[in-house]
Symmetry: C2
Subunit: 200 residues, 2 copies
DNA sequence: CCTACCGATCGGTAGG
DNA sequence: CCTACCGATCGGTAGG
């Protein structure tokens, strides 16, 4: 049937995207410094010098991975927040969206690289990332503020937000898809832990 | 006066400990893979081949850092738990002890290396670490169980413990000693967030 | 994107 | 612990 489809589009402009995806996997697994350009080239069936046709430096590859990871999470959680509902419903939807991006098969290497390898960026790139991260976390701060107004949480301070980010991002360290617990269950348990028991 | 003290003890058996401390700083700052034996040697005023007089491989240095980090935290939190008191008092003391080890000037590089670089260990060393980590986390599981019995928390499941570890360990990412908030305040806020409002 | 290559650096060792 | 060194590997480039 469509046996030739994949090979036909071999020369499309997404060789670059393939490199980024392979790099995310390797950076997440072995770390940025321990990953070799040759590792990345091998993963996408290129010769060792060829990735430099698509990227100027290894740092640029890291930046591409990290920015794509940040953008994907931001987009997902922003969409969840825009869905509307009570502060509690919005918060629950945001928790689920964040965890799905972090733990899903396709996005988790981007997230892991973002969380663990960003400090290898140079100052200018790091500043760009931090800007996006601050905008992202402002979404959460706002959600907490409205939970507070609705009486669902006692403290909506910055420290509360940081504890929340920690609980969420730490899941990367322990979650296993085969682990019995679904992402939905995990999101629900965190909501239950942080928010006051529902009235009625 | 005692001007010669430091140079007199230059040949004591703690050159090894100096190497471990320097390594912890470098591993925490630049990462294990990006840190060079030459970096470590320079930090303790040795020639580039000399650290190998004290350690067989670079991996052995990482293992030494990581095990010392784990042992220090375990000891501190174990001591806090053994102090006794109500479940809530014990829990609060454990929170404070864990955070002090993570964030204090002297121990934070060990903790950061433990949290971020352990995956560079070989399988056997990693297994040794995980064993110690499991024993450590059992301390927390027990503390949660007793909070539950006392009615201070609704859920003492494993997932709750993992959220707690995340909130705690994530502080490494954002805490700054000059940041206004004391470690004690941070511990207190986390306790307030997780536990039911005190009766009375 | 491949071929062929370069200078630099790395972990580790022998021999004292 | 230092001196002197080795083989291997790395990020990156010129020239096609």
């Amino acid at each position: 049937m469509a046996a030739s489809r994949k090979s036909l589009i071999k020369d499309e402009p997404n060789r670059r995207a393939e490199i980024v995806r392979a790099a995310s996997r390797l950076f997440a697994d072995k770390g940025y410094s321990a990953t070799t350009i040759r590792d990345i080239a091998r993963a996408v069936d290129m010769q060792s010098g060829s990735p430099f046709y698509h990227f100027r430096t290894k740092h640029d590859m890291l930046l591409a991975v990290v920015l794509e990871g940040m953008a994907t999470i931001s987009r997902a959680v922003g969409a969840a927040a825009a869905q509307g509902g009570t502060p509690r419903e919005i918060f629950d939807a945001m928790l689920l969206a964040h965890l799905e991006q972090l733990l899903a098969e396709d996005g988790r290497h981007f997230a892991a690289t973002l969380l663990h390898e960003s400090h290898h960026l140079e100052a200018a790139a790091l500043a760009e990332l931090i800007e996006q991260k601050d905008a992202y976390e402002a979404l959460w701060q706002k959600a907490l503020r409205e939970l507070r107004r609705a009486g669902d949480i006692a403290d909506d301070s910055h420290v509360t937000r940081l504890f929340l980010m920690g609980a969420l991002n730490w899941t990367v360290q322990w979650y296993h898809p085969k682990g019995g617990r679904s992402v939905r269950q995990i999101a629900r348990q965190l909501s239950d832990l942080l928010l006051n028991p529902k009235s009625r």
